[in-house]
């Protein structure tokens, strides 16, 4: 295989992004559908290029870019998230007067950033990917230019993101000082080495973790999330809830899992992360109880889910982590897709009261939304249950029982607020007269694909687990 093989998926994605941006600038199509189709085709091509790399361990630039199988598995999650986002946005954007062709270009750029993040063992390259992702994310958040809330969200995201990057860069500098390299393996080796218990390395690692905690919204670094998620256009929110989180946890897992084996130094880091995980699950669930806006509620739910993922990282359960992310991809896009359908020209209906009587008015939409909510609440036999099962079971196996009890408590609380939406949809009479225009075939396509995903993962995940296992085998070297 050529020395540039690992570069192919990235080139395809970035090339597509540039092509879309150029077309938007010079062709200026009134209807942006061709651009969306182009973006989807580009993603499909990238997926093809990515899958071809499976098992090859292709690397370029002296190992600075290296698609191992785990990276490919995460890449598949990003690509699916990307496709779902485009499909949801297809009709949503024109309705909300935000029909800019740049959307697809920016989204592709964000995708390329995500792919870079999971395809390098070198932390500085990871940082590069993160920055590409972040900059496109800020722009995507503020896509609705005339909307105050969107602008506020974009500024907030930008400021918080910059803070996080600062932490991250400083942490990397300290790590480099401790390990003389930013290769993850070298860092892990340095921790195992004789100087492993000097202050430099752990301090750097903590700062890096803080930086990532901002990005993946762990309590207490989550304050920006609800505002940004609420202000951003719904498809973008759905994308944020899944893809950057997956990438962040992929990096965190690579970083923490090998270091985690070094018993004594990591014990403290593990304890800190355990507290963060517990807080994340509990605080987010408790705050979600008080939300009346469904989009904001889902933002809190996504924070709580980050807590569960952190438990997986602590338990060293890579398969559980990937499985949870795959299940969360379907649940989250299902829920946000249903939310995107609750809109019409110039208006969005995200208040809890707007959902009253939906079970009568739009039985299909309500039923699908209910399935995703019930899956998020962790009821069997849906994907969300099995995902939590694997993670918690691995955590108990590792002796993290108190953390699991906290997680189960958070699940119980979360069942209340998820089911409250179902209550409103099916058991309350409409409060006011709203007419969402639910003629959105592409969104329904997403919803049914997600339904399939949630059921398949909940009942017969078989092969997927095997794939994740193989992917993981390539990760731990």
């Amino acid at each position: 295989m050529s020395a540039y093989a690992a570069l192919v998926p990235l080139v395809v994605v970035v090339g597509g992004a540039i092509l879309v941006l150029l077309l938007e600038a010079f062709w200026k199509p009134a209807d942006k559908t061709p651009l969306a189709v182009l973006a989807l085709l580009d993603a499909a091509a990238a997926a093809f290029a990515l899958v071809r790399l499976w098992g090859s361990g292709a690397s370029s630039f002296e190992g600075m870019l290296r698609f191992d199988d785990a990276g490919i598995a995460f890449g598949a999650i990003f690509l699916a998230a990307f496709a779902f986002t485009v499909l949801i946005a297809l009709k949503y954007l024109p309705r909300q007067n935000a029909d800019y062709g740049e959307f697809y270009g920016l989204l592709l750029l964000a995708l390329s950033g995500l792919l870079v993040m999971v395809s390098s063992p070198n932390l500085i390259v990871v940082l590069l990917g993160l920055e590409i992702l972040s900059v496109s994310s800020y722009a995507l958040t503020g896509l609705k230019r005339d909307d105050d809330r969107a602008s506020e969200a974009a500024v907030k995201y930008f400021l918080m993101g910059s803070f996080a990057s600062a932490f991250l860069v400083f942490g990397l500098a300290l790590l480099y000082g401790a390990a003389r390299s930013l290769d993850i393996r070298a860092v892990a080796a340095a921790f195992a080495g004789p100087d492993g218990d000097s202050l430099l390395g752990p301090a750097g690692l903590m700062l890096v973790i803080v930086g990532f905690s901002f990005k993946i919204a762990l309590v207490p670094f989550h304050m920006w999330t609800p505002d940004v998620y609420q202000g951003a256009p719904t498809p973008v929110t759905a994308f944020f809830a899944v893809a950057p989180k997956a990438a962040g946890f992929a990096v965190l897992f690579r970083l923490v899992a090998p270091v985690g084996d070094q018993a004594f130094r990591s014990a403290k880091i593990h304890a800190v992360l355990g507290i963060v995980a517990g807080l994340t699950m509990l605080v987010a669930s408790l705050t979600a109880l008080r939300q009346r806006n469904v989009k904001r509620l889902l933002a809190y739910s996504s924070i709580a889910n980050a807590g569960y993922l952190l438990v997986a990282v602590l338990a060293g359960d890579g398969v559980g982590l990937m499985f949870f992310l795959a299940a969360y991809l379907f649940m989250s896009f299902g829920a946000f897709g249903a939310l995107a359908a609750m809109s019409r020209r110039g208006e969005e209906f995200h208040d809890l009261d707007d959902f009253a009587g939906l079970g009568d008015r739009n039985p299909w939409l309500a039923a699908l939304f209910a399935v995703f909510l019930i899956s998020l609440a962790g009821f069997p036999p849906l994907g969300g249950f099995l995902a939590k099962y694997y993670i918690f079971s691995a955590a108990v196996h590792k002796g993290l029982t108190p953390l699991v009890l906290v997680g189960l408590l958070a699940s119980l609380i979360s069942a209340y607020y998820y089911l409250r939406i179902v209550v409103v949809m099916y058991m309350k009479d409409p409060v006011r007269d709203i007419e969402p225009d639910v003629d959105v075939p592409a969104v329904y396509l997403v919803l049914f694909l997600c339904l399939y995903g949630v059921l398949q993962l909940g009942l017969f995940p078989g092969r997927l687990l095997l794939v994740f296992q193989r992917a993981l085998a390539s990760l731990i070297m």
């Binding site: 069997p380 036999p381 099962y389 058991m427």
Partner: protein, 516 residues
């Protein structure tokens, strides 16, 4: 033929098919659902016919690998679960038939949830793998949540949320205990297995057993419900539609007591022994408290609900007697309670459809206008109060016999259930059915329709059958119950919880890799 899978999943298949039926065609929807549940009942009768009463272990076993980590599709039926399965499949057609005029809107969804519920309940009774059991246990919660929440009374949303959160609080702790068991089993043997048979052979240290038992016990105690975890029950019962109440009382509560017999007691016998006094006293409090509360209820439906607390208290007390008589009596009484309380709820439903009230003071002298109804209602009342010749008597006497053998004081106190039961039931019957007609509306009540009679006849026939020929039923329980009691008494444990896995200890457990 995979008979058990057929019985379990036929309702699910029916529910999926129903999605594609036109929602206006009431007759077609009901006809299909009814026919389907009748087929399921017929299939379970086949089970009854082919059941070998001399075998103690599970029969009709089906095993298939599923998710790895010891999670298998493993179902089977033995003398303990057989009649609970039959009770479920028997009541479902009756419940559907009784809902014909009560459920006015969203009939299609109602029937779908009913069928889903049947699958969930049957799965709970048939599962022999802890994970599978948990899946069905939780899955049965969702349809009931909708049944109460959509078709319930005024405070339905409150009642259904309370029901779900109470149940879930318990079952999540059970889930944590399942994780622990899975991990312990792996550490002891080097393989994963969540099958009950394998798990029951693992020796656990007493302290751990205590915690695990508390986690399992809480989940089941909430479901039964045992005092003081019963507060969800009156709310859920009163607000649920008739069909929902019937299934809730007749079958869903049995999931709790069944859970104790199948899982909590065999898995943690040492802990059970330790907690026996506490549990028995809680049962006694439940018996007396439930009876006294039933006495003062103004609403017929909540009276029946509190009577459930009392009756299930006796069932659990008999279970905790841990002897053959007590266990047989508990199993038999579980069936009785299912039939008689089911019939009582149906009877209340019949009355409610006419009067749109359930307050005792609004009635009086109903039997003059509705003689046929009066007869059926009386049989149900007497069955519940334990009149000799009817099923309730046999169950109560066997239960008390078992309790007496274990502890005489408990038995003496438990007898109050008979006295209190007769008091609140007959007093209620007297106030509602007899005396002068005080409410003019009663004059316009039509007697029972043929459809309503059709709901009651099979139940009443069974009540007499179980009263006169209980051996039809208990003879099929004997072998399994004897084995169960012998097992908890002897406590044979094969595996020792050793730090290093020894291959020799892995007997019977199939080695399993990470998932396939």
């Amino acid at each position: 033929m995979p008979l058990l899978s057929l019985i379990t999943f036929l309702p699910l298949a029916g529910a999926v098919l129903l999605v594609f039926f036109p929602r206006e065609r009431k007759g077609l929807l009901y006809g299909f659902a009814l026919a389907l549940t009748l087929v399921v009942f017929a299939a379970s009768l086949l089970l009854f016919a082919r059941f070998d009463a001399s075998v103690a272990g599970p029969q009709f076993v089906e095993k298939a690998p599923w998710l790895g980590f010891g999670i298998r599709y493993h179902v089977g039926v033995d003398g303990i679960s057989l009649f609970l399965v039959l009770l479920t499949t028997f009541l479902l057609p009756i419940v559907l038939l009784s809902s014909w005029s009560y459920i006015a809107d969203r009939i299609k969804e109602y029937l779908i949830f009913m069928l889903l519920l049947e699958t969930g309940i049957l799965g709970v009774f048939l599962s022999l793998n802890l994970f599978l059991f948990y899946v069905f246990w939780e899955a049965a919660l969702i349809p009931m949540y909708f049944l109460i929440g959509i078709w319930g009374g005024k405070r339905r949303v409150y009642a259904t949320m309370k029901f779900v959160l109470f149940t879930m609080a318990g079952s999540l702790l059970m889930l944590a205990a399942i994780f622990t068991l899975s991990s312990l089993f792996f550490k002891a043997t080097g393989t994963y297995s969540l099958d009950v048979v394998d798990q029951a052979r693992m020796a656990l240290n007493p302290r751990l057993q205590t915690w695990l038992f508390l986690a399992f016990g809480l989940a089941f105690a909430i479901k039964v419900p045992m005092f003081p975890f019963h507060t969800w029950l009156p709310d859920a019962h009163v607000e649920a539609p008739t069909g929902g109440s019937v299934l809730l009382a007749a079958v869903l509560l049995k999931m709790g007591s069944y859970g104790f017999i199948r899982f909590a007691i065999p898995l943690f016998p040492d802990a059970v022994e330790k907690f026996l006094p506490v549990l028995s006293v809680l049962c006694l409090i439940g018996i007396i408290y439930g009876g006294l509360m039933a006495l003062i209820q103004k609403d017929v439906k909540s009276l029946v609900a509190y009577s459930s607390v009392s009756h299930m208290g006796l069932v659990m007390l008999a279970v905790f007697a841990l002897n053959v008589e007590g266990t047989t009596g508990a199993l038999f009484q579980m069936l009785n309670h299912g039939l008689s309380t089911g019939a009582l709820f149906l009877a209340v439903g019949v009355l409610y459809e006419r009067a749109h009230t359930r307050l005792i003071k609004d009635f009086g002298g109903v039997s003059r206008r509705m003689p046929v109804y009066s007869a059926f209602f009386l049989v149900a009342v007497l069955s519940s109060a334990g009149l000799p010749g009817l099923n309730g008597f046999v169950g109560e006497i066997t239960c008390l016999y078992g309790v007496f053998a274990a502890n005489k004081i408990y038995a003496a106190l438990a007898v109050t259930t008979v006295i209190l039961g007769a008091a609140y039931l007959l007093w209620m019957f007297q106030r509602v059915m007899q005396g002068p007609i005080t409410n003019e509306k009663i004059l316009a009540f039509p007697d029972m329709s043929l459809r309503e009679i059709a709901c009651f006849v099979p139940i009443v026939v069974l009540m007499f059958w179980m009263g006169f020929a209980p051996r039809t039923f208990t003879s099929r329980m004997d072998a399994s119950v004897a084995a169960y009691v012998q097992k908890i008494k002897s406590r044979e444990r094969v595996f020792v919880q050793a730090p290093a896995p020894s291959p020799a200890a892995v007997r019977g457990a199939v080695p399993e890799r990470r998932p396939r």
